[in-house]
């Protein structure tokens, strides 16, 4: 858990404690900046006030470039999941999420959890939205999402399959082209449905049972659609693939898909790195 001394600190810490105890993992707190007795005292007070917590807690204080320090510490301590408090809407002035969180989501060696509505009280999550578009990472993401849903007791899971408009590749001009495009979409829906049920059948049974699983295909801009969808259905958590590794220098530029989500977080976002386990 990376933390800064913001007004949300207490809520962020509480969320982290709850999460790590539910998952049964140990918790590392990492503050990038100078260690002062005052800060230490405030932080201790918060930790002691928490009603529950994981078995082991470690706090690390280190100065330096936030992105570098955090990625380094993640590697060093073999971190599975990095938690970050985040602001919902990106702004030029509020640069926290703007650059640091963005860089971290790209560079962190592990999965990243962005929290926008941490709360001191325990608010049970009810609805999880998971991306399911055609990608090699998707299967891992879906499985991780189901594991997370079981640990956190989330009953409703919606798999959102975003299909790029370019796959339809028909411009609707008149009745004829409208018919053609509607037909093509139906075909794509069928194909994607088959693909999804194949993935779902690969998920261990005990993870799937007792869950209310739905799927929704959306034709539209990838990344944007799922973010907007999560807002509409008032999802409590959105689980997405991390960025796929690209070989070419030019494509290292931050991808547009994730951009849409990060610039205006619809809800808490969990970004799954394929190598890591939650």
């Amino acid at each position: 858990m990376g933390f800064a001394f913001s007004p949300n600190l207490k809520a962020n810490v509480y969320e982290a404690m709850r999460l790590s105890s539910s998952l049964g993992k140990s918790l590392f707190f990492l503050h990038v900046g100078a260690k002062s007795p005052e800060k230490q005292r405030v932080f201790k007070d918060i930790l002691n006030g928490a009603p529950m917590g994981p078995s082991s807690i470690k706090t690390i204080w280190e100065s330096g470039d936030p992105v570098k320090v955090i990625t380094h510490q993640c590697k060093k301590n073999n971190i599975d999941l990095l938690l970050l408090g985040a602001l919902q809407r990106e702004n030029v002035l509020k640069f926290y999420l703007g650059s640091i969180a963005r860089k971290l989501t790209r560079k962190a060696p592990c999965s990243v959890f962005l929290m926008i509505k941490p709360s001191i009280e325990n608010v049970a999550a009810n609805h999880m939205v998971v991306n399911a578009f055609k990608s090699t990472q998707t299967e891992v993401t879906i499985r991780a999402a189901f594991e997370y849903a079981r640990s956190m007791n989330i009953p409703n899971i919606t798999l959102v399959d975003e299909i790029n408009q370019s796959e339809v590749d028909i411009n609707v001009d008149d009745d004829f082209s409208l018919k053609k495009s509607t037909k093509r979409k139906e075909e794509l829906n069928k194909e994607e449905g088959a693909r999804l049920s194949k993935i779902l059948s690969g998920v261990p049974k005990h993870l799937v049972s007792n869950k209310n699983i739905k799927s929704q295909n959306i034709f539209g801009t990838r990344g944007y659609s799922i973010s907007h969808y999560a807002k509409i259905v008032r999802a409590d958590i959105l689980v997405i693939n991390s960025v796929e590794k690209r070989l070419f220098f030019l494509s290292r530029i931050f991808p547009k898909d994730l951009d849409y989500i990060l610039s205006e977080l619809p809800t808490d976002v969990l970004i799954i790195k394929p190598s890591a386990n939650v």
């Binding site: 001009d173 008149d174 082209s177 739905k214 959306i218 034709f219 539209g220 944007y224 807002k231 849409y260």
Partner: protein
């Protein structure tokens, strides 16, 4: 369906389309001549545009029912271009303008090629209306003088407008024969146009109003020539002159100034107006199509571009899609592109055969048509309609109107866009809502997998600036489906969007789908949210006059309480499924009021406002209808007085049924339907006797509902009472038969 099926249908519909093409050509000829003259171009140039447009667009175009030819919106632009490019020399200016027309044809073709049909959607609706009104005033100002025989008035729109009283005064003070005859022709023509739609005589309506004007002008000329010794008294400059040899003397555009700035400006404004006018017309004609087809606007733009290019090369004006002529086409049974083609062929025929007669048409008669056109564009009721939407819309309208009159079309529409945006920022008290979200997508659409409904959610803001994004998504929904638009995440919805959405609502209704708008309820309660939203909601769409009911409304209310029925005097959207009746197939339903309905909902009497045709060929109608809701289904049929008295296209799917057993009935009534044996079974002697013994109503069955229409106007209380007893007896007869 195979291609041979289409071919068969095409040839089957050919007679209808030839007829419709003929009627359209009767309107097109006077308009083509008039629009060309109003642009200071040779009269024949308008006819060339019509002919080229008709031939090219019917072959390459994408829409089925549109008629193409010279457009009224372009008059002002072309007039300006001919006068400025020629620097006073009108013929030279005309040749330069032809070059500009050729270039604008290329541009329009490119617009179509690059799928920029959405171009017109970037203009806020009130600003667009203001611009069109300014064009209307521009046409009206100049032609009002010509209408009373004074041709030498020149100057800016304002100057010309201010001189109109002087011109009338001049005629009154100098009542010579030479002055009075042209003024007489013009003013009588103008009255023909105004009172045409008031006279509901179907025989009179077989010939369109502009043709009556032409017939009047030509016959008056011959009367004066033949019976009055001193001749017509019309000087040559008040008559049309056509080139002696039509085919040999085609002018060729002069390309020598194509590198100058003013030429470029002319090309751009011509293209802009031509595209806007065409796109608006195509959209409007789609709403009239009885077969509810959707036009391919980009294909249309390409065809119009090509037609304009060719037309310019041989001396014709711009080719655009024109609404008035297209609506005449729809009303006369045109069903496919061939009617546009035949209208061109008939025009060629007219020009070649009746060249001498055409040269006898007095300019004041044509000017009267143009004054009427201009008036329709700038009509005060347009302004009142916009004022009802909101004061800020009226302000945008007026600003655009005045700037267009003073500074030209490009400046006018430019300022209109800027002011609209400024108003939006002021209303929201927030600039960031626009700046932050302008480039972001804001629309999500998906097919809900559980319900099968299409769901669209819009966030941030939705105004003319980003409306195309929403439109593209809506466009992907088949109109016979259920669509839900949710604005609950959207902070601001402007008037342009609301207006267009209500059009979508209509289209979906027409095609059997459902189009719902949700999530705006909270907006009206929130003061931060703009006027336009609340004002644009259908139920508040009209002024509320109900504070004091009219006499008729009071009696209706009394009638309702005697019958123990419900009565609501308010204007509202149409509540019954009137679209299902063939009577409304080619008509646009506007709103209903004075709804009187029985508690169990089997009877409903309602006054309906609907319109037929569009623009100058538009008739606004008000009539009282009775709708009977049946608990069972009966065959679909139409029972009318006589075939000739009804519009032709109404019966396209039905064939006439003669009941041999009742020759008297068949003589008096026209009965049509598709299922012959069932209808014959339905019309037994009791029912026949009932119809024969009662006063005449037009009766139509849509299967589960019966529509009864009395006169083509609102009925009086007593007429409503007899309509009521008629309906009750009819329902009794049917109930006895079916229950």
């Amino acid at each position: 369906m195979s291609s041979s099926y289409y071919l068969k249908e095409f040839f089957g519909d050919l007679p209808k389309n030839i007829f419709s093409g003929f009627v359209v050509s009767l309107v097109a000829l006077p308009l083509a001549l008039g629009l060309a003259i109003a642009s200071d171009a040779p009269p024949i140039s308008g006819v060339i545009a019509s002919i080229v447009g008709g031939v090219i667009c019917s072959i390459f175009g994408g829409s089925k029912l549109t008629i193409t030819g010279p457009g009224n919106g372009l008059v002002v632009v072309l007039l300006f271009s001919i006068n400025t490019l020629g620097e006073g020399n009108l013929y030279q200016g005309y040749l330069f303008t032809l070059a500009a027309v050729v270039f604008s044809g290329v541009l329009m073709f490119l617009f179509g090629l690059f799928r920029l049909g959405a171009l017109s959607e970037f203009f806020p609706s009130s600003a667009l209306q203001g611009m069109l009104a300014a064009i209307g005033i521009g046409i009206l100002a100049k032609q009002a003088h010509v209408m009373i025989g004074i041709t030498e008035i020149k100057g800016s729109t304002i100057e010309v407008l201010s001189k109109i009283p002087d011109s009338f005064l001049f005629i009154l003070l100098n009542p010579t024969r030479e002055n009075l005859i042209p003024a007489f022709i013009g003013i009588v023509s103008f009255f023909i146009l105004i009172f045409y739609s008031k006279l509901r005589n179907p025989l009179f309506h077989l010939i369109p109003a502009p043709m009556w004007v032409i017939i009047f002008a030509i016959s008056l000329f011959y009367y004066l020539e033949v019976f009055v010794l001193s001749g017509s008294g019309l000087s040559a400059d008040l008559l049309i002159s056509l080139p002696d040899n039509l085919l040999a003397n085609l002018p060729f555009p002069d390309f020598s100034i194509i590198t100058t700035k003013r030429f470029l400006a002319a090309v751009i404004s011509i293209t802009l107006i031509a595209s806007i006018e065409s796109l608006l017309s195509i959209k409007a004609v789609d709403k009239l199509d009885p077969e509810k087809r959707r036009s391919n606007v980009n294909k249309d733009l390409k065809a119009l571009g090509l037609a304009t290019f060719i037309s310019g090369l041989i001396g014709g004006l711009n080719v655009v899609t024109v609404i008035a002529r297209s609506s005449v086409n729809v009303n006369n049974g045109g069903s496919n592109k061939s009617s546009n083609f035949f209208h061109a062929i008939f025009l060629i025929g007219f020009v070649l055969i009746f060249q001498n007669q055409i040269e006898k048409i007095a300019l004041p008669a044509l000017a009267a048509i143009l004054v009427y056109t201009g008036y329709k564009l700038a009509a005060p009721d347009n302004f009142i309609r916009i004022l009802r939407v909101g004061k800020e819309q009226a302000a945008i309208y007026l600003i655009t109107l005045f700037i267009t009159i003073y500074g030209g079309i490009m400046t006018g529409i430019g300022f209109g866009i800027v002011f609209t945006f400024v108003f939006h920022v002021i209303i929201n008290k927030n600039f960031f809502i626009f700046s932050r979200n302008f480039f972001k997508p804001n629309v999500l659409m998906y097919l809900e997998q559980e319900s099968g409904n299409y769901y669209i959610s819009v966030e941030n803001f939705c105004s003319f600036l980003n409306f195309y994004k929403l439109k593209r998504k809506i466009g992907e929904i088949p109109e016979n489906q259920h669509a839900i638009i949710d604005f609950s995440l959207c902070d601001f919805v402007d008037h342009t969007v609301m207006e267009d959405l209500s059009d979508y609502q209509r289209t979906f209704n027409r095609k059997g789908g459902v189009f719902e708008i949700i999530g705006l309820d909270s907006h009206s309660a929130d003061t931060q949210h703009p006027f336009a939203i609340r004002k644009s909601l259908p139920s508040n769409d009209f002024f509320n006059f109900q504070n004091n009911l009219t006499k008729r409304q009071v009696s209706l209310k009394q009638l309702a309480s005697i019958l123990n029925w419900r009565y609501s005097p308010e204007n509202s959207f149409i509540t019954s499924k009137l679209e299902a009746f063939t009577y409304f197939k080619t008509k646009t339903l506007n709103y209903q009021y004075n709804e009187l309905s029985s508690l169990e909902n089997s009877f409903k009497i309602v006054d309906v406002s609907y319109s037929e045709g569009a623009f100058i060929a538009k008739d606004n109608l008000l009539a009282t209808f009775m709708v009977i809701d049946l608990k069972y289904s009966i065959p679909k049929f139409v029972l009318d007085r006589d075939f000739i008295l009804s519009t032709f296209s109404e019966f396209s799917n039905y064939s006439e049924i003669n009941l041999n057993r009742f020759p008297d009935f068949s003589k008096r009534f026209y009965l049509a339907g598709s299922n012959k044996s069932k209808i014959k079974n339905l019309f037994d002697s009791k029912l026949i006797f009932f119809f024969e013994s009662h006063s005449y109503y037009r009766i139509e069955s849509s299967g589960n509902e019966i529509l009864i229409k009395g006169k083509s106007r609102v009925l009086s209380i007593n007429e409503i009472k007899s309509l009521l007893s008629f309906s009750r007896e009819l329902l009794n007869l049917l109930n006895n038969k079916y229950l």
